[in-house]
Each structure stands twice: as structure tokens, then as C-alpha cells.
């Protein structure tokens, strides 16, 4: 192989490697690595349909009720609410008024059915996204009210 050809091959290989890496990173984003959707986003129809995703926010006080092993509660970012249905044992740290992240999907009946419910490890903390969602919602309420 001539040096010039070799250089071409190397450059092409580098581009291919960068392409594969970029694809993998994009795939990571698509598979919903980090972000969860807020109830406002769901109400706006931004959440995916018929695909599992995560929802995050606060458990609205006084909305938790059980029907056998199935629990119903409302996740809120204070401006919009989403009712979550979950069959199974709720984690110990699950409390009303605390932060929660639930993974599941929206069924044909339009209800969010969770397959996993995660409470935050530390009660005093709140996920930053949930917090900023709450902050933003409050801001929006403030500007709307007067």
C-alpha cells in the first residue's frame, strides 16, 4: 500500500469510528437515558405513545389510594397532573408530597401504567429536573395569575 493510500484508509477509518461512536451516543439519548417527562409535557402530547418512558414529579398530597395490590396516585409538577396506575409494592421511601420517578407507558385508555416506581433515595432531595419543572410551573402560574 502506498503511503497516500494508507493515509486515505486511516482517515476513512477514523471517520467511520467517529460515525459509529456518534450513532451509539445518539442511541443512548434515544433510549431515554436520563430525562423523564413532566406531566406538563405529557399533557402537551410530547411523551411517546406506546413506548415505555419515565415520568417525574411530585406525588400530589391526598391522591394515593389502593385497590387491592394496585395503587393509584397523581404525579404533579403543580401545573398539570398525571394519574399513575401501578400494580405492585411501592418502595419504602414513597411518600405523598415527595419526588417520584415512574417508568411505564400510556395505554389505549390514556392512562399511565407504571411498571416501576422509584422514590428518591434521600427524602430531603428532589431531582433537579423535577425541581426546576416545579419552579418553572410556579413561575408560569405567577405570571398568569395577576
Amino acid at each position: 500500500m502506498k503511503p497516500r493510500h494508507k493515509r486515505m484508509v486511516l482517515i476513512l477509518a477514523a471517520l467511520a469510528v467517529l460515525g459509529v461512536a456518534a450513532m451509539l451516543v445518539l442511541n443512548a439519548f434515544r433510549s431515554n437515558l436520563v430525562f423523564f417527562y413532566t406531566p406538563t409535557q405529557i399533557a402537551n402530547g410530547e411523551a411517546p405513545h406506546n413506548k415505555p418512558f419515565r415520568i417525574g414529579g411530585l406525588v400530589k398530597t391526598g391522591t394515593l389510594h389502593r385497590d387491592g395490590v394496585t395503587a393509584y396516585f397523581t404525579v404533579t409538577d403543580t401545573s398539570k397532573d398525571t394519574i399513575v396506575k401501578y400494580t405492585g409494592i411501592l418502595p419504602d421511601l414513597f411518600r405523598e408530597g415527595r419526588g417520584v420517578v415512574a417508568e411505564g407507558r400510556i395505554g389505549d385508555d390514556g392512562q399511565f401504567t407504571a411498571s416501576e416506581v422509584l422514590a428518591k433515595h434521600d427524602e430531603n432531595y428532589m431531582p433537579p429536573e423535577a425541581k426546576s419543572a416545579v419552579d418553572q410551573a410556579q413561575q408560569a402560574m405567577k405570571t398568569l395569575k395577576p
Binding site: 461512536a21 456518534a22 442511541n27 439519548f29 433510549s31 431515554n32 437515558l33 436520563v34 416501576e116
Partner: protein, 225 residues
């Protein structure tokens, strides 16, 4: 293609033969891994709930330190006895020979750790699925550790206080691999999809597999000057 595979194979075989003659070194990394991972429960207490939660981190940090152990010796003996010079002057591509040496390091230090990890994971009460994820994440992640480490090993070659310096240089660069690797296992424990973490780990592996040997060769040429 044979211009790549023949010298690569030669280089790997040579280092494996040398490693086979130094059996203690081979066992040291593995033993270190087992000991470190087993010491931590003694430090934090035997609460199974807590142990399961910290297991991914412990196993990953153990693997990371175990592979770091032999890192400095990746090039140092060859540099000391002049073999590295001969490799740099070989008609074969130096980069390919270096890639072979990195691969040999992974086979000697990384693979045993990957194989041992599920056994140790059992001690932390991980589910079968999580053990798979752990093994898979280490399988993708340990090559990244060897590849990034090789750059550090080449930079600190023949330098005063090389061992400590090497850790200072490369441990910060290990953080993404550690986070995504342990994160994949943690995500699985939390019942979430591991795809995101695995994708990112694979991206790191692909990038470092291509650029790692190249940068290492560059650093080695500087060290040989």
C-alpha cells in the same frame, strides 16, 4: 489485512508467553480484585440491602484498581531492556505492535477480572440478570481501561515516581467508564433499561480502541527519544 493481523498476533503471543512465565503477576491482579471487593463489606457492614446498592460501584472500582496494578509494567520492562526500541524500528507498524501489547494487557489483567466478577457479584446478592449486565459492562469497559491506561503508561515511561504519577494522570480519565459501567448495573438493579449506559460505554470503547493505540504510540516515540 495481513499487514495488520500478523504483527498484531505476534505481539499478543509474545506478551502472553512472557506473562505465562511470570505467573505471580497474573495472579496478583485477580487476587487484588477479590480482596478489595471482599474488604469493603467488612468496612461498611453486612447489611444486604446496602451491599446490593453499592455492589456495582464496588465491583467496578475493584476492577479498575486491579487493571491499574499492572499498568505501569505494560511498557517499562520492554523499555528497560531495549525491546521497545526494536519494536519502534520494526518494519511492521509500531502502532499495531503497541495495539497487540495493549490487547495482551487486557487479556492478562482485564479478562480474569471480567470472569471473576459474577462470582463476586453473587456475594452481593445480585440477581442473575444483574450479573449478566455486570459481566457485559466489564467486558465492554475493561478494554477502555487498558487503552486509556496505556497512554498514561507511555507518558510516564522512565519517569521519576512513575507509578503514583500514572494514577494521578489516568484515574480522572477513567471516570466516564466507571460511571457508565457501574451505572448500567445500577440501572438494571433499579429495573431501568441498560441500553443507554451500554451504548455510551460502547461508544467509549470504540473511540478508545481506535485512538488509544495511536496516541500511545505517539507518546512512546517521545519517551524513546
Amino acid at each position: 489485512m495481513s499487514a495488520f493481523f500478523v504483527p498484531f498476533k505476534q505481539s499478543v503471543q509474545r506478551d502472553l508467553l512472557l506473562a505465562a512465565r511470570h505467573k505471580t503477576e497474573l495472579i496478583t491482579a485477580l487476587f487484588f480484585f477479590v480482596i478489595v471487593v471482599n474488604l469493603l463489606p467488612l468496612g461498611v457492614g453486612p447489611d444486604p440491602e446496602l451491599l446490593r446498592k453499592i455492589a456495582p460501584g464496588i465491583l467496578w472500582i475493584g476492577a479498575l484498581l486491579a487493571t491499574l496494578l499492572g499498568m505501569q509494567r505494560m511498557f517499562a520492562p520492554d523499555h528497560a531492556d531495549g525491546t521497545l526500541e526494536q519494536m519502534a524500528l520494526s518494519p511492521q507498524s509500531f502502532t499495531v505492535l503497541v495495539a497487540g501489547k495493549i490487547t495482551a494487557h487486557w487479556l492478562v489483567a482485564g479478562v480474569p477480572v471480567v470472569l471473576m466478577a459474577p462470582l463476586l457479584g453473587l456475594q452481593f446478592d445480585l440477581s442473575a440478570r444483574s450479573l449478566w449486565v455486570l459481566t457485559l459492562s466489564l467486558l465492554l469497559g475493561t478494554p477502555v481501561l487498558s487503552l486509556i491506561g496505556s497512554v498514561g503508561a507511555a507518558l510516564t515511561l522512565g519517569v521519576r515516581g512513575g507509578g503514583v504519577l500514572l494514577s494521578l494522570l489516568i484515574l480522572p480519565l477513567y471516570i466516564p467508564a466507571l460511571i457508565f459501567g457501574a451505572g448500567a448495573v445500577e440501572a438494571d438493579l433499579a429495573g431501568l433499561s441498560i441500553e443507554g449506559h451500554m451504548s455510551l460505554l460502547a461508544a467509549l470503547a470504540v473511540l478508545s480502541a481506535f485512538f488509544g493505540p495511536w496516541v500511545t504510540t505517539f507518546a512512546l516515540r517521545i519517551a524513546l527519544e
